[in-house]
């Protein structure tokens, strides 16, 4: 009885604390992300460097220079028929074992035995 009362009291206190905690979160959620920030993006865009040659140190690997001249011609594939394919061996299925043939019993006409003389 006592343990039941303790459990019930603990449950009631837990639910009360949970309701207070959840209500405290209401209205405090921070919802501002940086997915779209028009003024930040605007400060990125500029036309200044169209007219001024400035080397900004962007940390990226140097692109390899492409080889000069025309690339070598591609090899021409050989013209002609390809060799005939070897024909795969045709395998015969193994001979089936013949089932034993049951001979019908030899039909003999019934022998009529004459009745014994009286």
């Amino acid at each position: 009885m006592t343990s039941k009362l303790i459990r019930r009291t603990f449950l009631a206190l837990s639910l009360g604390a949970a309701s207070f905690t959840l209500s405290a979160c209401d209205g405090v959620t921070v919802g501002v992300g940086y997915g779209y920030d028009p003024f930040y993006d605007s400060l990125l865009w500029n036309d200044y460097y169209h007219d001024v040659d400035v080397d900004i140190d962007v940390d990226r690997p140097v692109r390899p220079r492409p080889p000069e001249g025309r690339p070598p011609a591609r090899p021409v594939p050989p013209i002609g028929k390809p060799p005939a394919r070897p024909r795969p061996p045709v395998a015969k299925p193994p001979a089936r074992p013949r089932p034993p043939v049951a001979r019908p019993p030899t039909a003999r006409p019934p022998i009529h035995r004459p009745s014994p003389r009286r």
């Binding site: 501002v32 003024f39 990125l44 200044y48 460097y49 140190d57 962007v58 940390d59």
Partner: protein
């Protein structure tokens, strides 16, 4: 409201304001500190780095220096950004740089006044004006600060119509905390 904001924003640099900015942030370029400023409590910092961006339609890559943006965590009506563009060594160069970004920043910009002043003990030029962005009026302050060793800092502060006037104090505190790296 707009006039009140404008007049309050125009008071930047001209009045002593309480320092509300709390967290110091340093702008660096290639590992070298250029300047620092403080970020108010409950504001978020977004920082980028040197890179190239390209207009996908024009196929026109261009270099961009680090841009740092700061704004309240839960409000997008106020914003301030800093950039120190490479190759811009004077206030005049910074003003030319600003002319090449203002068309991206606001539409129909109207400059209300231009003031020479000092920020963090350094010579600076402040341009205030208004414009529109996404159908809403904005009040902007663009600043070019002459840094040592042939660099400048460009700072753009924006207040959208309807912004809480209290943000003006936060912006003033950010500018008030500005100082060049030694």
């Amino acid at each position: 409201m707009f006039l009140r904001l404008s007049s309050a924003f125009a008071a930047i640099w001209l009045s002593a304001v309480p320092a509300l900015a709390e967290t110091p942030v340093t702008y660096t370029d290639n590992g070298r500190a250029l300047f620092s400023f403080s970020v108010p409590d409950f504001w978020a910092v977004r920082t980028g780095g040197p890179r190239e961006i390209e207009d996908t339609e024009l196929g026109d890559p261009r270099a961009v220096a680090r841009v740092m943006g700061v704004r309240p965590v839960t409000d997008d009506t106020v914003w301030i950004g800093f950039v120190s563009p490479a190759g811009v060594a004077s206030i005049d160069g910074g003003l030319r740089y600003l002319q090449d970004i203002d068309k991206f920043l606001v539409k129909s910009p109207v400059v209300s006044d231009t003031v020479s002043t000092r920020i963090g003990g350094l010579p600076a030029q402040v341009i205030r004006g208004t414009g529109t962005r996404e159908g809403r009026g904005v009040n902007f302050t663009a600043t070019v600060i002459d840094l040592p060793r042939d660099r400048v800092a460009v700072a753009v502060a924006v207040l959208r119509d309807g912004a809480d006037p209290a943000y003006v104090d936060d912006l003033n505190a950010v500018f008030d905390s500005f100082q060049a790296a030694r």
